[in-house]
């Protein structure tokens, strides 16, 4: 009797098949052109042009070349050959430190302020226009202003992370706080719970899932933005790595960096996914 595959097995198989198809298309697309070397070309000229046989660094890599690069970079992720040449692990760590710095600052501002405007209709109405105007601004648009006023590239990139992580957390916190069930607030009022205790024991747990969703969105945006910010002004980090390899027109290394950005982004997102599950509750 034929064994039926479970849903998980089916999807895994499909994923692997898709990966195989992508690799195949990639391989076919990057097959080297047959090099026609004309007989009358000066051999020295041909040598100076790279011999006409080797593919140059900027051509699109084959899956094999890509695999080799991934292996090389990942097998030595923490080397340090000076300020402009560090291993991928160190670069990612630099980016993560910046992201965490900006993110935590944003959380420190957004959550208390979100509590305030979620609790008070007056504050909400007063601050809402500012939030609405500031929210859609691309965080990178702040970069020149930040550089001009803060006068420090490192602090400016942290500021850019701060400003982009702020809004989703602020809005979600306000939303979460405003939507706490009235019954619970009424119960706490009946029991004459003091305001601080009410905030920490009633409102915070009730709003936590919404707040965490906001944090998850913020972290996603922060990770997107840090890459661009580091490409602009960075002296380290994964964005700087992309720029540095682009400067060498090395697509293999740029692709590798893109892959790493994806993997780290996924890891960050899943951390918040797990945290979100822990604070979730059934009504």
């Amino acid at each position: 009797m034929k064994k039926r595959l479970s849903l998980g097995q089916k999807s895994t198989l499909l994923s692997l098949a898709l990966f195989g198809v992508i690799l195949l298309i990639w391989q076919l697309a990057t097959l080297p052109d047959a090099q026609v070397v004309a007989a009358d070309v000066d051999p020295e000229y041909a040598a100076l042009m790279g011999g006409g046989t080797t593919t140059t660094a900027s051509s699109f890599p084959t899956p094999a070349a890509m695999g080799q690069t991934v292996w090389e970079k990942l097998s030595d992720p923490f080397y340090d050959n000076g300020p402009n040449d560090k291993g991928i692990g160190i670069q990612i760590a630099h980016s993560l430190v910046r992201v965490l710095g900006g993110f935590l600052l944003a959380a420190a501002v957004a959550i208390p302020v979100g509590f305030l405007i979620g609790n008070s209709r007056v504050f909400y109405a007063a601050l809402n226009p500012y939030v609405q105007v500031l929210k859609p601004i691309s965080p990178l648009a702040w970069m020149p202003l930040a550089l001009y006023t803060i006068k420090d590239a490192e602090a400016s990139s942290i500021f850019v992370i701060f400003i982009c992580s702020l809004w989703p957390m602020l809005i979600n916190t306000a939303l979460g706080v405003a939507n706490v069930r009235r019954d619970w607030l009424d119960v706490s009022r009946t029991l004459e719970v003091n305001p601080l205790r009410k905030a920490f024991r009633v409102i915070l747990p009730a709003a936590a899932p919404t707040i965490l969703t906001g944090m998850r969105i913020s972290m996603g945006i922060a990770w997107l933005v840090i890459v661009a910010a580091e490409m602009l002004v960075g002296s380290s980090g994964i964005g700087y790595f992309v720029w540095n390899e682009w400067n060498n027109l090395s697509l293999t290394n740029v692709l590798f960096a893109i892959l790493m950005i994806g993997v780290v982004g996924m890891a960050l997102d899943s951390i918040f996914g797990v945290l979100g599950k822990r604070v979730a509750y059934q009504e």
């Binding site: 000229y45 300020p83 040449d85 550089l147 590239a153 540095n244 400067n247 027109l249």
Partner: protein, 452 residues
């Protein structure tokens, strides 16, 4: 052996440790007597000279006993320029700041700044330099203004523009030395190989690194000399060098006047050719400079002196063709230029494939010369004025002399044995036309195409 001992005292033992003059209980007491910095430096130099002349200490002491210290000093002074040696040593006082951050943009123009790191030029001067690769000229400008960088690689028009407040906040920046001369090129897409005459370039799009770059000024000059108005007949776009190569491949631009190694890189990738080397426009034109924010040399005079010596010696070293091979090895790694060696070799040796099937041999395709000619600054200012970057009147010489520290460079170069020109002004010939720095206004008026 201490440098504080009087080598003209026959009782001093130069080749032995401890207080040797006998007048002090300990070396510390002895040193306390020699607080005077000048005296100390003199003693250090004299001791060094005497040690050099008399490798055997006994011989020196016998000599001094026989002729007396005064006679010996006079006799040696006639042979050896003791005064000059003392002056030189006095300049090498204590460094006010040893940890420096220096910015560079990864192009061969920055060769002296970069190589001075791995090849030990900074270290020799007691400097601990962190070389910071930077993503673009605007970022370099901001980081110099923010004092994030103590000194930096700059395009030679940038310090003039920054000092005048063009395109940024007004912030005086000093040019300590020029880095490279020549070493740029006009590169076109291979599809334009039949358009060798620039008169046919109407409607084309060109990439340039920055508004305040010699590239912009030279390309505008070149186009205008061929009857094209750079603001109306062609499109000029600012972009970083790797984008020039990528955009040229994609056909978004038709050519660029860019820094090396990106011209050769485009040729190496097989879709471009070198149309004109910048040395054929103006042989010996300045390209990049080494600059510090105004006040740096006043605040840190000894550090500035050490930095100048390191950069000027490195520039001189890079000037010599026989050293180029070694330099390429030093600057090619990922920490610095991050470029393939075959491309750098073609740039630095001047024996290169032109992209049209010929091997060309131009040894001075790239060259290095530290002296910051003020006449070059005047030329740059006339062109900035010509294309309306500078609005209003300007005293060309005054600005040039304020920003390009030629007098200071001459003095410092002489101290380390480099020959510097006697004058800070000279006539330059650009595309066959002579520029007289004494008559900038007349020069500017002589152009048919201009924005003034």
């Amino acid at each position: 052996m201490s440098g504080f001992d009087n080598p003209f005292d026959p009782d001093t033992q130069l080749h032995r440790a401890g207080c040797s003059c006998g007048r002090h209980h300990s070396q510390a007491d002895h040193d306390a007597d020699m607080k005077n910095e000048d005296a100390r430096v003199s003693r250090v130099v004299e001791s060094a000279v005497m040690r050099g002349l008399f490798p055997d200490d006994q011989m020196r002491r016998n000599f001094l006993r026989a002729v007396g210290a005064g006679t010996a000093m006079a006799a040696i002074s006639t042979l050896f320029p003791m005064g000059a040696a003392k002056a030189l040593a006095a300049d090498r006082g204590k460094l006010e700041k040893t940890d420096l951050k220096i910015g560079f943009v990864p192009i061969t123009c920055a060769t002296p700044i970069i190589m001075a790191g791995p090849m030990g030029f900074y270290e020799r001067e007691g400097l601990n330099v962190s070389l910071q690769k930077t993503a673009g000229w605007a970022v370099v400008r901001d980081k110099v203004q923010n004092k994030e960088y103590d000194a930096s690689h700059l395009l030679s028009p940038m310090p003039l523009a920054m000092s005048l407040g063009l395109g940024s906040a007004k912030q005086a920046v000093d040019v300590a030395t020029i880095q490279n001369i020549n070493g740029q090129a006009i590169t076109l897409h291979i599809k334009h190989k039949d358009k060798m005459n620039p008169k046919d370039w109407k409607g084309m799009k060109f990439g340039l690194p920055f508004d305040y770059s010699i590239h912009n000024l030279l390309l505008r000059y070149f186009l205008a000399e061929h009857g094209l108005d750079p603001d109306k007949d062609v499109e000029l776009r600012n972009m970083p060098p790797p984008d020039m190569v990528a955009n040229l491949r994609a056909g978004n631009i038709d050519g660029f006047l860019g820094p090396e190694p990106f011209n050769q890189r485009a040729v190496y990738e097989g879709f471009a050719f070198v149309h004109t080397l910048s040395r054929d426009l103006w042989d010996g034109h300045p390209c990049c400079a080494f600059g510090v924010k105004e006040g740096f040399y006043k605040e840190f005079p000894n550090t500035y002196a050490a930095l100048f010596r390191a950069i000027a010696s490195a520039t001189d070293y890079a000037h010599k063709p026989e050293n180029r091979k070694e330099i390429i090895e030093a600057i090619a790694p990922a920490n610095y230029l991050n470029q393939p060696i075959p491309v750098l070799e073609q740039v630095m040796t001047g024996r290169f494939a032109d992209g049209l099937g010929k091997v060309r041999n131009v040894p001075d395709r790239v060259d290095f010369d530290p002296f910051p000619w003020q006449s070059m600054a005047v030329w740059i200012l006339t062109q900035l004025k010509r294309w309306n970057y500078i609005k209003g009147d300007i005293n060309y010489q005054a600005v040039a002399e304020e920003v390009f520290r030629a007098t200071d460079a001459r003095k410092r170069m002489a101290e380390i044995g480099l020959t510097a020109p006697k004058s800070s002004y000279m006539k330059h010939t650009i595309m066959g036309k002579v520029f007289d720095p004494a008559k900038p206004a007349e020069y500017l008026n002589s152009f048919a195409i201009k924005r003034t």
